[in-house]
Subunit: 974 residues, 2 copies
Amino acid sequence: MAKAPKYIYHFGSGKSDGDASMKALLGGKGANLGEMARRGFNVPPGFTITTEVCTYYYANKKSYPKGLLEKDIKDAVAKLEKQQKKKFGDARNPLLVSVRSGARDSMPGMMDTILNLGLNDTTVEGLKAKTQNGRFAYDSYRRFVQMYGDVVMGVQKRHENEHEPFDAVMDELKHAKGYTEDTQFTEADLKELIVAFRKLIKERTGKAFPNDPYEQLKGAVGAVFGSWMNERANIYRDKYNIPHEWGTAVNVQAMVFGNMGDTSGTGVAFTRNPANGANEFYGEYLANAQGEDVVAGVRTPLKITDMATDQVFKGIFQQLLKVRAKLEKEFGDVQDFEFTIEEQTLYMLQTRNGKRTAQAYVKIAHDMVKQKLMTPEHAVKSGDPQALDQLLAPIFDTSDEKAAEQDSYLTTGLPAGPGAASGTIAFTAAKAEALAAAGQKAVLCRVETSPEDLKGMIAAEGILTARGGVSSHAALVARQMGKVCVAGAGDLSVDYEAGTLTCNGRTLREGEFIAINGTTGKVYGRKVKTSDSELKQVLIGKTMKPGDSSLFQAYDFVMKLADKYRTLGLRTNADQPDQAHNAIAFGAEGIGLCRTEHMFFDGDRIDSVREMILFAEDYAKYRNEVADAKDDAQKQASLKGQYADAIDHFTSALGKLLPMQQKDFEGLFAAMDGRPVTIRFLDPPLHEFLPQSKDQKDDLAKKLGVSYERIEALGHSLHEFNPMLGHRGCRLGLVYPEITEMQSRAVFKAAISVAKKTGKKVVPEIMIPLVGYQAELAQQLEIVHRVAAEEQAAAKTKMVYLVGTMIEIPRAAVTAAEIAKDAQFFSFGTNDLTQTTLGMSRDDSGKFLPHYQKVGIVKANPFATLDQAGVGKLMEMAIAGGKQTRPEIKLGICGEHGGDPQTIEYCHKIGLSYVSCSPFRVPVARLAAAQAALKHGGKPAKAGKAKVKSAKPKAKAGKAKAGKAKAKAAGARG
Amino acid sequence: MAKAPKYIYHFGSGKSDGDASMKALLGGKGANLGEMARRGFNVPPGFTITTEVCTYYYANKKSYPKGLLEKDIKDAVAKLEKQQKKKFGDARNPLLVSVRSGARDSMPGMMDTILNLGLNDTTVEGLKAKTQNGRFAYDSYRRFVQMYGDVVMGVQKRHENEHEPFDAVMDELKHAKGYTEDTQFTEADLKELIVAFRKLIKERTGKAFPNDPYEQLKGAVGAVFGSWMNERANIYRDKYNIPHEWGTAVNVQAMVFGNMGDTSGTGVAFTRNPANGANEFYGEYLANAQGEDVVAGVRTPLKITDMATDQVFKGIFQQLLKVRAKLEKEFGDVQDFEFTIEEQTLYMLQTRNGKRTAQAYVKIAHDMVKQKLMTPEHAVKSGDPQALDQLLAPIFDTSDEKAAEQDSYLTTGLPAGPGAASGTIAFTAAKAEALAAAGQKAVLCRVETSPEDLKGMIAAEGILTARGGVSSHAALVARQMGKVCVAGAGDLSVDYEAGTLTCNGRTLREGEFIAINGTTGKVYGRKVKTSDSELKQVLIGKTMKPGDSSLFQAYDFVMKLADKYRTLGLRTNADQPDQAHNAIAFGAEGIGLCRTEHMFFDGDRIDSVREMILFAEDYAKYRNEVADAKDDAQKQASLKGQYADAIDHFTSALGKLLPMQQKDFEGLFAAMDGRPVTIRFLDPPLHEFLPQSKDQKDDLAKKLGVSYERIEALGHSLHEFNPMLGHRGCRLGLVYPEITEMQSRAVFKAAISVAKKTGKKVVPEIMIPLVGYQAELAQQLEIVHRVAAEEQAAAKTKMVYLVGTMIEIPRAAVTAAEIAKDAQFFSFGTNDLTQTTLGMSRDDSGKFLPHYQKVGIVKANPFATLDQAGVGKLMEMAIAGGKQTRPEIKLGICGEHGGDPQTIEYCHKIGLSYVSCSPFRVPVARLAAAQAALKHGGKPAKAGKAKVKSAKPKAKAGKAKAGKAKAKAAGARG
């Protein structure tokens, strides 16, 4: 018989069943409590109910494994009673416990904590006797009933305008007694409140507040498990892609009291600054308080460093300094920990790796690796690639911020999330969401934030709070999401009812502008202009030197560390030399997608493009009719006359475009300095190039000497019902092979000329778009190879080039083995592949995709994160097919997914050679690719470094050749 | 060592190397010559060069297998010399041969025949001596030089307006001599012509006409192989999907002369009438003529039956009657044969299964099976399913044709292709093509047609010729393509130069109307109205009784024969009772696709549909906000007020639609009389239902009491960039579940009511469209199952129903195993699946698809014939996935491909349960499915007969249920 799983793990008193490696089973909190106890930190003993119980709970209609409630928990409590020499429910020496949730990763939004569990009308007297403090005992009891009534029994506001029901009871009594502060409540008042609370609970729920401590415990455990599936927790998991299946653990721990008097206290601290990464002790404490008081932001706590000079706690501070050092050493990362001081004894209640901003991440990784406190692997693994975007987010323009300081300065708060945010004031989460939905930037301004504000915080550009310290909810969420945040700006007075924010003599209303600097904590009462981030200024703007920026040094250190592990090649999507330069600065090793049509819009050349388009159809008719006329010279001459206009314009337009494209390619090749450049031939439908307004059309008609009606008619003739599935991609090059020829010639002329000028090898990779049939590619490549041979012969030189195709429609994926006969590389165009595989137009999906995410049909937006089960399956088929025909085939991705960390991990797993993304996403991709390699193991060689063999026309006559032979044979007979 | 393949097969003199079973190797002509010789028909001896030589020729740069020319052919000629006791090139007793092409299937457009090969200045004298007929000998020589110069050496018109060059030379001499007929040429004239012809050849080609018979033979063989790849042959193969790889054989046969004088002759005959299938001897002959003269239509030949009373040939006629009977007996099908009479001796030159019209096909199959001359298998196999469409093509309206006979009768020709065609006169193939391209119906009117007119004949509605008999090119092509055709209407005078057609005192010009009755041969000088075909009148119109129509009896016999072999189920796409009735009449066993939205346009109901659409979005907002408000009754009440208008209109519109849809479904269920009915829920994007014109919009605004601007705004808001990939299919039902609920309710109410009324079982199969994700289907089916349960409970009854989905986007195919968890059946929506898999919008493909077909990228239009390599691959994946999860899953196809014979064969092969096509395609599908079963073997069970198990909501909580639990948990906490 299989052994029953162990559902309960003990910790404390220097011994533990679990340790830090067991986060999946015990949750982060439980595992680390075990680890701390093992390593000699003073942890109040307790036990963890495993995440497997949570999984069981949801799989079995919210019931528990057999015996858990009846026996296992009771045994665990008994063990705790023995350790603490107290008894659960005992009238004289009662054991009190806290109950906390603890998932694998810390997760805001879930039920956090219930304190003082075990109190009832009997045990409260025991506590009073033991502490000789009736007010303390009854206040603890009052807090417990309130917390339990709210969280476990669900006594909450029934609509937005209602007061918190327990608060209302307290306010009533305060008013009746003429008190102004909670601290004025006497022991008798508190007893009265407790009666009133219990009555409220009974009225609202129909159930009595449970006196039996085991009943209380059972309820609390159920509430923790229940909170795993609440809306806020679900939103959070969806945002961070945490599986719903993980579940949470429950930690039951002997109470220690930070509110037992003036020699008690509680605090939250980071071993380093989590906002900017500075190596400084960072945190807050409150004397005579329970932990929740710090986090809730109700009382503004003192800085942890102030404790050094606090007469009561300076000894404790010395202990904390030792704890700080020991934590970093033992856990190998910055720690975010909670402690309680009960009558001058320091207890550790929790530790975890500190959530940090991107800026702090690179700084801490750099410093701790150099200090040998952190392993290089952990430094790479622990970063959130997505968050690196923050380093590129704009900061305030120096001169405009100076001006704002003169004319609109409001106050300075805690710099809790670095960066700059200007936006419209929103006093509620709902308002922030509404503004964001309307495309406006919002700054959420609250007295304090709570888990209920989560959606609004996600929607806002920045967060400003009047109360709460660096450990407050606002600061915590800001750090985690990389939001710009200024917390605890105490001068600020926010009046929700009046809808005003007052500070420094100014009153601002909802809808007016405000600006916050999350790096310095300054707040301004107007919009402030922004400029490039520090990192951009070093890398691109070159307005700062690397030596001037410690942020750059840390960033660069981490990126180079990542490169050591990364095996996936990194390319960028760029069409212009300056983009190419940027991308190289960010670490790109080549261009994975140059969209040639972007060049078509530049300056005057759009006129030539339009000229080409206007006469393309007639020219093609001419070409086909000439071919049909075979060797009838008379007929051909007459056709030449008939189509003179079209021939003239079309060839002249192509003639003008050739040197322009050549120049563009020369610029790119020079900028890429020998790195590979993938050039995609003309892709969008031709109507995208046409003039839209009457004036533009008039203008074009005049320039080309044709009638306005003709321009109009062209627009109608090129109109498409579903342009995404229309005449575009290689379908253009097939119907108008002259365009493919022109583009080929521009590429080869440019490559030869740059190679000659620079003496470096230039390796163009020509990519034919939207291929679905092997014959499409073969017929297009016939032109490419012919032009390549012509240009090499003309320049008396040899060059290396590759030819390949996008895989962006399902048919290409399905017939990849055929297509690989001609393609030396595949590049997955996952934008279009997603649209066709899902039958979903990105531009039109707004009507249903948000609903799909809401009801769980899709987890992530498939246009941002690759749909692995659908699109990925086709990619895997294409890879298998491609490799079957051509084992050395190069494989890349150039859709927008190429910059998405989850997708990058997938690309690594399925064996792509490289990913290509927009220049500013390159750092994200760099870190994500390194993490993928660490997680799944590396691959032998990078594409960027792979040896290149030039494309060669096949020796064997392809289909196209047979076609030619056919035409010739027909000619001989016809 | 492998034995060298045998490249040459002899036949004749009662012995043959080959036989009728060897068509792949010897071509149809060669194989049947072998067979005829074996069976004692009098065949001039000869030999066949195999199709493998043709394959070799194209695979090896147009060269021949080693030794073929040098030895094998010479050996074969030597054997022939021995049999015939003549010598190739001999001055006194020269062997002359014909050279003919012969592919597996007879193929117009390829080089046909060269006669009299072996003649030169020397051997012609031998022929003269032997036949004592100088004029005959030199005329034979003249013909040979002309034919050889044209076909082998390529001396042809250089442009359209040039005269045939050899004809020009002859005309010149005729003119100079003052002759009016070719027959007036003397031996001396012919000698002069031969010199002039040889001079022309030399001038035009730079090469001399070869004197050496082996050189002549080599050239002729090369010309046959070359003609395999000429344009017309390619067009023909593409139309009939004949692989280019098959190749042609070459037949070299000892000459017999039909033109040796008045006791000689030649003819072409069918053992039965190939136009209408009548059991009558049918054909033509010409005295003193070579075979080409009959086919070319230059001299109008005599009816074969006239031979019975021909004093010279009446003995031969008796022999021919025996041949006719023997051919049918030996070959088991109607034969189309050629014969030559050389001085009263009958020789058989060729036989093959006769091409026939659809009408003839069913008649012949019926008659010959009954006469035990044909096997039932052959009767089924030998029909062209596609051609059955001809039986449904309209015929002339009786009364209007009677009127036309009074006011516009022109003439009566040979009824060569049954049916009725009215259209614009086109005198050239190019004109007919141009008219067809412009969407106009054309009747191609020619003196005679030639292979060069093929494209125009395909484009035209009907063909009318002034010259040529039932074996003429026009008649042959018309039979094969099912074109309406009247041939050899000798009263007709067509003047190409003047662009006129004159007959019966009237002159018509190009562009005017003409009408031809291919069943009677009558021609009218105006449009004539059409009415239903005879078959339709029996099956659908019921204006004729089955007993009145022998055509119906034959058709019915063949269809029932087909059903014996068919294993694939047959359904139809129908939305209305009358369509359903028709489909059943044609043999449908169920409805495979009922598009519910078609019902939405009927009568007033479009107003209700528009009302529903106009308020849907607001209603959805209301629903979502109420859900968010959870148990806040006050908030909910306020929302109800705020959205009162939307709630009112939306629910009222649905309320109006429910009974309408229910009535529609009742009609369908009743019509289908217990057969399964697959109902697809709302599919098209909502904007398709909106009014377009200002008046319509105004009208709607007034009816609904909203502003015009609001209607306009809705149009804008619903506009999509790529509607094909937009908010449609189940995406509608998910965002607006109320619509799915209404449709479900209508289905179940209707099913229950019809079952009650008729006492028969009604089995609705509910089909959710455009599913890409399993969760989409699961969430929609949750509604369906709930409503089913409610309606069954309300009616206190139990019923059987199935649920399933369309597989019409690639993601569904790829994730079919997941989707099959909820789907009891898959129906492949190959229209959309083709569009998404190919990334090709059907509506927009006109700009490039014709080009793709021309250059060979696609063989067939992928929207007509399924793309097996691409779309098919995904279907096979879906089938594998579906069966993996649910081995008994039902599989069908309901795209337009379901009526395409090639696709049907494929569907049979990959194991579908049924195909569904439009009602009028059902006969086509019926025959095609039977042929597929005969070709590939049957399958155990038909879908139509499979046992049905009702859909049941899954016992296990699906994703949707978990989602509900989630929402509830959140509610408890929120």
